[in-house]
C-alpha cells in the first residue's frame, strides 16, 4: 500500500476533502467571506446596543406613558434575549432592511442607494488617477534613485500626503473654478442638467451615456475632475511612495542581474521583470487605498457639496440617527470585505507561488 501521497499532489488547505481543487478553493474563500461578514454584523449589532441612545424613546418620544413605551419595546423586539435579537437583526439585514432613517424618514437602504454611487464614481476616478500616474511615478523614482527625478517625485508625494485635502480642494475651486473657469463648481451636475437622466446605476457618467445624453456626461465629468484630482493626488502620493520602495527592493534582486545578463532592454527589465514582482504586494496597497476612498472622504465631500456616503454617515452620526450610521457602516465593511477578496484573487493571478 502507498503510505505517502503521490508526489506533486500535496494536500492543499481547503474547505472539504474530495472536491476538485478550484471548487475547494472557491468554497474556502466564500466561507471565510461569509464568516467575516457575520463578524461585521455582530460588531455593528453590539455597537447599536451599547450606545446610549434609546430606540424606544426615539420612536415614541419622551412624554409617552409607560404602557405605550412598553408596547413599543415589545414591538421593536427589545424584550427578547440578546442572541434572538441578533438573529432577527441578521435576518433583516440579509433581506436588505436596515430600518428607517430618523433624519430623512426614508428606508436607510434607499438613502444609501442614492449616496453610494456618488462616492463610488468619485472614488473610482480618483483611484484610477492614483494608479495610472502613481505607479509609473514610483517606478521612475526607483529607477532614478537618488537623482533629481526621484527628489522631485518624493517632494510631490510628500506635499500630496501632508497638505489637508479640504484646503487643496478649496484652493482648487478658487483657482480652476472661480478664476480660470476651467472646471465646473461644487455638486455633481449643474442645476440645468439635474433630473434629465433617470438614475439607473446612480453613476451619472454611466447613466448619461446609456441614455445617450453626451451633454450631461461632459457636465458631470466637469464636476468630477477637480474633486477626483484632489483625492487622486492624495492616493497617488501614497501609491507612488509604496511603488518606489517595492521597486527598489525588487531591483536589487538577483533575477534582475540575470535579466540584464541576458541583454534585455532596461525597459523590459524594469517594467516586466521588476514591476511584475512588485505588483504582487502593490495590489493590496491599491485595494486598501480604494477602500478608504469608498468610505467617502467627508472633508472633500463637504467642500465640493458632493452628496456621498461619507457626508451621509457623518451627518447621521451628528444627529444620532443610529439606523443610518449602522447601515452605512455595514456597507463600508462589506466594501472592504469585497476588496480584500478581490485583492486575494488578484494576488493568486499575479503570483504563481500563491496558487
Amino acid at each position: 500500500m502507498a503510505y505517502f501521497p503521490p508526489s506533486g499532489a500535496a494536500p492543499r488547505p481547503g474547505f472539504l476533502p474530495g472536491l476538485p481543487g478550484w471548487l475547494n478553493t472557491a468554497l474556502g474563500l466564500l466561507a471565510s467571506v461569509a464568516l467575516t461578514f457575520l463578524g461585521l454584523l455582530l460588531v455593528t449589532f453590539l455597537i447599536g446596543r451599547v450606545v446610549p441612545i434609546d430606540p424606544v424613546l426615539a420612536a415614541v418620544g419622551d412624554r409617552a406613558p409607560a404602557e405605550v413605551y412598553e408596547q413599543m419595546r415589545i414591538a421593536l423586539g427589545l424584550h427578547l434575549p440578546l442572541h434572538e435579537q441578533f438573529l432577527a437583526y441578521v435576518g433583516k439585514v440579509l433581506e436588505g432592511d436596515f430600518g428607517r432613517s430618523v433624519l430623512t424618514a426614508n428606508p436607510v437602504l434607499e438613502d444609501i442607494r442614492r449616496v453610494f454611487p456618488a462616492t463610488l464614481e468619485l472614488a473610482t476616478l480618483s483611484i484610477l488617477l492614483g494608479v495610472l500616474i502613481g505607479v509609473p511615478m514610483g517606478v521612475v523614482a526607483a529607477v532614478r534613485h537618488g537623482r533629481w527625478p526621484d527628489h522631485v517625485i518624493r517632494v510631490l508625494g510628500l506635499v500630496g500626503y501632508s497638505v489637508p485635502v479640504f484646503w487643496l480642494g478649496l484652493m482648487g475651486l478658487l483657482l480652476f473654478y472661480a478664476n480660470l473657469g476651467w472646471v465646473a463648481g461644487p455638486g455633481r451636475l449643474d442645476i440645468y442638467y439635474e433630473g434629465l437622466v433617470e438614475p439607473v446605476t446612480g453613476l451619472i457618467l454611466v447613466d448619461s451615456l446609456v441614455a445617450g445624453e453626451p451633454e450631461v456626461f461632459w457636465n458631470a465629468l466637469g464636476h468630477l475632475v477637480l474633486p477626483a484630482s484632489v483625492l487622486g493626488y492624495f492616493s497617488l502620493a501614497y501609491i507612488s511612495r509604496m511603488t518606489r520602495s517595492l521597486m527598489l527592493e525588487q531591483l536589487s534582486q538577483e533575477y534582475i542581474v540575470t535579466a540584464r545578463a541576458k541583454g534585455l532592454s532596461e525597459a523590459r527589465v524594469v517594467w516586466r521583470h521588476a514591476l511584475g514582482n512588485a505588483m504582487v504586494p502593490l495590489v493590496t496597497v491599491i485595494a486598501l487605498s480604494y477602500g478608504s476612498l469608498l468610505e467617502g472622504s467627508v472633508l472633500t465631500e463637504i467642500v465640493f457639496a458632493w452628496p456621498g456616503l461619507g457626508y451621509y454617515i457623518t451627518n447621521s452620526l451628528l444627529n444620532a440617527d443610529m439606523n443610518a450610521v449602522l447601515g452605512g457602516t455595514i456597507v463600508v465593511g462589506a466594501v472592504f470585505i469585497g476588496l480584500n477578496l478581490l485583492s486575494d484573487l488578484l494576488y493568486r493571478v499575479l503570483d504563481p507561488r500563491a496558487r
Binding site: S252, Q253, E254, Y255, V257, T258, A259, R260, A261, K262, G263, L264, S265, E266, R268, R272, H273, G276, N277, V280, L350, D351, P352, R353
Partner: protein
C-alpha cells in the same frame, strides 16, 4: 589556447565610493584568455565575482570600473557605450549565477524566461528553441518544465534552466559564478557534466568562478588565484598542487581530506605583504 585572445584584461579596477571612503573590490587585475577554461578561485570578498561582473558591465552603482585595457574579441569594452555593451550581453557574453532560487524570476515561467534570451524571434519559434535547449541540458519532461514556474522546480532543474537560458544564444564567453555552490552534492556532478558537455573544448571561453579548489583544478585549463582584489598566482590547473604562493599553499593545506588523519585543519595565515606584492606565475 587560441592565438588571438578572446578576452584581454589589463589593470582592471572596481571601486565603490562609500560614506567612509573608497573601497576597492578589484585592484589591478590583468589576464588574457582564449577559448579555454579559466578558473578564478579565492575566498569571499577576494573580488572574483566583481571581476566577472565588470567584464559583463553589470557592476551595480555606485561601483566604478577602470581598466587600462578591457577587450573582448577585438572590441574595446572601455570605450563601448551602454547600448553596445547590452548588445554583447547574452548574445556573446553570458553569465550563470549562483543560486537558481534567487536568480530566476519567480513570476515568469521557465519557458518564457528562456525564450526571452532569443531576441527578434517569433514567440512560437522561440518556444521551439527553448524546448530544444531544455533537451540539451538533459531535463526530463521538458514540456512540463517549459510551463513550470521556478518554485515548482528543484534546485538542480532550475540551474539547468539557467544554463539553457544563458547558452541559448550561443555566446562566445560564459562566466559561471559559483554555478554549483547552491546545489546538493549529488546534483552538482550532473550539472557540471552538462556544463562540460555544452561548453565543449575550444568552442567557447569559460570563466569558472569558484571557491572550490578541487572543482577548478579538475574542470579548468588554467587557474587564477585571487586575494584581496588581486591575482596572487596564476598557473595551469594541472600544476595547482605544486603552487608556489603561500596563500595558495595555505588554501590547499586547509582542505579536509577524507583519508586524512582528521582533527583540526590548519588555519590560513594572512600576510599583509601579499596585498601589494606582485603575483607569481606557475610554469608557463
Amino acid at each position: 589556447m587560441s592565438a588571438q585572445a578572446l578576452l584581454a584584461v589589463e589593470d582592471l579596477r572596481v571601486s565603490f565610493a562609500t560614506a567612509t571612503g573608497v573601497v576597492e573590490a578589484v585592484r589591478g587585475v590583468s589576464f588574457t584568455m582564449g577559448r579555454e577554461r579559466l578558473g578564478i578561485v579565492g575566498e569571499s570578498g577576494s573580488g572574483k565575482s566583481m571581476t566577472g561582473r565588470a567584464i559583463l558591465g553589470l557592476v551595480p552603482p555606485p561601483g566604478r570600473v577602470d581598466a587600462r585595457r578591457l577587450e573582448f574579441d577585438g572590441i574595446d569594452l572601455t570605450a563601448a557605450g551602454s547600448k553596445r555593451r547590452r548588445a554583447l550581453r547574452g548574445r556573446r557574453i553570458a553569465m550563470i549565477l549562483q543560486d537558481p532560487n534567487y536568480s530566476l524570476n519567480p513570476v515568469i515561467t521557465a519557458g518564457r524566461q528562456i525564450a526571452e534570451a532569443y531576441r527578434g524571434l517569433s514567440r512560437a519559434a522561440a518556444r521551439e528553441r527553448a524546448l530544444g535547449m531544455l533537451e540539451a541540458v538533459r531535463v526530463p519532461d521538458p514540456e512540463r518544465v517549459l510551463r513550470a514556474y521556478p518554485h515548482e522546480l528543484s534546485g538542480g532543474m532550475a540551474q539547468r534552466v539557467m544554463i539553457a537560458m544563458m547558452l541559448a544564444p550561443g555566446p562566445d564567453l560564459l562566466i559561471a559564478d559559483e554555478p554549483t555552490s547552491a546545489l546538493d552534492v549529488s546534483v552538482r556532478v550532473q550539472v557540471l557534466a552538462i556544463l562540460d558537455d555544452l561548453v565543449g573544448r575550444g568552442r567557447m571561453g569559460l570563466i569558472l568562478i569558484s571557491h572550490d579548489l578541487g572543482l577548478v583544478a579538475s574542470f579548468c585549463d588554467r587557474v587564477l588565484v585571487m586575494y584581496d582584489g588581486r591575482i596572487v598566482e596564476s598557473c595551469r590547473a594541472s600544476e595547482l598542487e605544486s603552487a608556489r604562493h603561500p596563500y595558495t599553499r595555505g588554501l590547499l593545506a586547509a582542505r579536509p581530506r577524507i583519508d586524512g588523519p582528521g582533527g583540526e585543519l590548519p588555519v590560513l595565515d594572512r600576510d599583509p605583504a601579499w596585498r601589494d606584492a606582485p603575483g607569481v606565475c606557475g610554469a608557463p
